[in-house]
Symmetry: C2
Subunit: 215 residues, 2 copies
Amino acid sequence: MNPDPLPSRPHASDDGRAPGADRRPTVGRGEKVRAAVLAATLAELAELRYAGLTVDAVARRAGVHKTTVYRRWKDRDALIVDALAGQIAADIPIPDTGTVEGDLRLLARGLAAWLRGPSGAAVLAVMLSEGAQAPGIAEVRSRIFDDRLRRAEPIVTRALGRGELPAGTDPAAVIKALAAPLYFRVLITAEPVDDAAADRAVTAALAAARHGGLG
Amino acid sequence: MNPDPLPSRPHASDDGRAPGADRRPTVGRGEKVRAAVLAATLAELAELRYAGLTVDAVARRAGVHKTTVYRRWKDRDALIVDALAGQIAADIPIPDTGTVEGDLRLLARGLAAWLRGPSGAAVLAVMLSEGAQAPGIAEVRSRIFDDRLRRAEPIVTRALGRGELPAGTDPAAVIKALAAPLYFRVLITAEPVDDAAADRAVTAALAAARHGGLG
């Protein structure tokens, strides 16, 4: 009854519940429904890609009524963003090692492992399968990446607090500078996305950030 | 008979022909056939994408016999690489302004203009329309990008000769550091790819290169 790949994994943004809250029947049930709908969304995406996904089919697969879905997500795209962003957040944790270099290295290696694994390949296939043209899909990609930024930016704000990077460094620019070369390898040059590639991305991003190139 | 890569449109790196050579009738005819086949390849790609393109259909559209195509290109992928790399080379010239910053700025702005224009959108749609999975397509993408690198790397080797960048800087790494954030905007974050984005990519790539981040 629970086909879900994700909800059992903790991720950062859904930890606002009071201790023991998930033992309260209503919240517990709400979470189960939510998890089932998100899992059904991922399964539908894998089969039908972005353009083919319908809220009807998601609801049917999750065993809930369509209105239950619309009560929680305003539309199809909101559902897709939530499902994919949640999956990515669970797959690529945000580290807090105490140094910006340590954090960025773990983050880049986590992203690299994800990009070369089945989950990253599946997300990229969904997100790029209809090219840049499918209406709505660019907006969905952008919102998913915004979610990543929101989660990862504290790495840079903590570094700024510790004086590790020059004041004026743009946290989003640092995270993007780290991610861009790895996506570029997967999507354009077909070079391996291994730990060495991740480490090179960190070295370049930190060199740029430390010398005012990412302000 | 003349297997030269990109003769019909002038560009920086293929100017080795003797003056008047392109007025010799045999070369002229060979060039015309070559140009017709490459144009037919681009037209077929636009309609049928990567997976749908056949050498038969390209030959028919170009008005030549299939064996004429195979005499010049060993297979379908070689034809696709040649057609797309040639189009990109004609669309994005390689500058030589006398400074690495001037060159990289023009190159990045040229790439940005191409990425946001119809030609870039068409190439990306072809190259990513079947996702990362279509057999052969990753290899084709990688060979097209290798061609770009081969043409653009002299910007960095000239800069090294002028002492503008530290010895040991990897020319390919600099060009990739410039290109990656622009592709990333188009393919992932859906942010505008304008001159400002191009200039920011140059600033970051140069900061990284000057401080040993791209060795």
